[in-house]
Point group: C2
């Protein structure tokens, strides 16, 4: 029986992780290890300056659930080293409430958990639905997640590479297919909502608008806009090899 680890960044009580559990149950024995509170935007953060706790939340046949006080990446490390105490056959993270296309992969706890799995040598996939709502409909996401998970269980993935899967807010009938893509070039602008607290001190909420500057139809954002599920293979090696080639002639001494 296949061993499947499920993580996320929206926390163990998010509807998205419940949807992912339901879609994975037919595929194997499930262990869920997820943060005890929402951690959107946790990135690849880990807990170095404080301690970590694990709580067992559910213990059914082929479904065990644990919450931890840590980040999504801590959850993967705790799962592999302390909870399952072995490498699962598959790690799935999500289903995230909201897009992780383009540079959102850098900020995303969901995708960082998948990347941590890839560093552990586990075939790993992060899933995100383009709908922030707490009442989001995860039906088509569940179908897509199961289909891709079955394929990855068959083929595996190279060390240090995970899949970033984003799913448009559409029914299965409306979705045009599953498409391999590259990460779109883009960025966030206008980022703060400044306010004054009751004692007259200023504080800020992070906000902003995403700006795409990449018109290639093969990028993840454009593919999602066209009604496709986007799949980007994402690697831990962040070296800019093209730049490295050009720079080698530049001498600092």
């Amino acid at each position: 029986m296949k061993e499947i680890l499920i993580c996320n960044d929206d926390g163990i009580f998010a509807p998205g992780i419940q949807a992912l559990i339901e879609s994975m149950r037919p595929l194997g024995r499930i262990t869920v290890v997820a943060p005890d509170s929402p951690q959107s935007g946790a990135g690849h953060g880990i807990t170095l300056n404080s301690t970590l706790r694990i709580n067992k939340v559910k213990d059914e046949e082929n479904l065990k659930m644990y919450s931890t006080s840590g980040t999504p990446v801590d959850c993967v490390k705790l799962a592999v080293n302390e909870i399952i105490q072995k490498k699962p056959d598959l790690l799935v993270s999500g289903i995230n409430h909201g897009s992780n296309a383009s540079i959102n992969v850098l900020y995303s706890g969901t995708m960082s958990a998948a990347m941590e799995g890839a560093l552990e040598g586990i075939p790993s996939i992060g899933f995100s639905l383009l709908d922030h709502s707490i009442d989001a409909d995860f039906e088509s996401s569940k179908h897509v997640a199961q289909k891709i998970a079955v394929k990855v269980l068959e083929t595996g993935l190279p060390w240090g590479v995970c899949l970033n899967v984003n799913i448009p807010k559409l029914s299965m009938q409306e979705i045009r297919g599953i498409k391999w893509c590259h990460q779109a070039r883009g960025n966030w602008t206008e980022e703060f909502d400044g306010r004054t607290d009751p004692s007259g001190q200023k504080y800020f909420w992070l906000t902003g608008k995403f700006k795409l500057f990449d018109e290639d139809e093969e990028n993840d954002i454009k593919s999602l806009e066209a009604g496709y599920v986007s799949v980007v293979p994402q690697q831990c090696d962040m070296t800019a090899y093209d730049v490295l080639k050009d720079m080698k002639s530049l001498n600092f001494d």
Copy 2:
């Protein structure tokens, strides 16, 4: 006069950021925006579920310092959008107490601040010294940082690419030179120290050993071991293009 932004993840009171301020002062007008407490391992985390505060710490001629309640990446966003309110000519992050070579870039708040600068279109560099000690000697790091900063102010860097500079724990006489490298393949293993608290509950400290599996002399770890300063150009595009090429024939439908 050049406008230089300084960030870090060890917090505004760390000796490493003081060393970086000293080495940058001859190059321009300095604004420091750094976390009010240590944030090692913050990764590319951002603050979405709570508010952010800014405190002015120092206001001298050509040197302004601000601490924030946010992560290193929040600091960059706050600096550009609220504090300086424009793009500086250069962003330098660090000097980090400890290595950010190989996959440590993923966990590092210092390198995530530099990457955030690169996303804002600012030429950005992260500096790290291979010495965790609070009494670390930053003398050679200061020389190296200044030399590389001068060069980057001259040449600029492409959008979405920053430099990851690691400095060996050696004197300037012992350092063999500055070398362009790629990110080494490696990972952390054996990661937890489990303990029992006074009330009998278990808790964990994250720990572990780094394992290198990359014998290429051109990688950052090997170059550091050989006595060089390593410089890796690091990009925000995490697409695994080689894998993408192979995978395009794999059909999910």
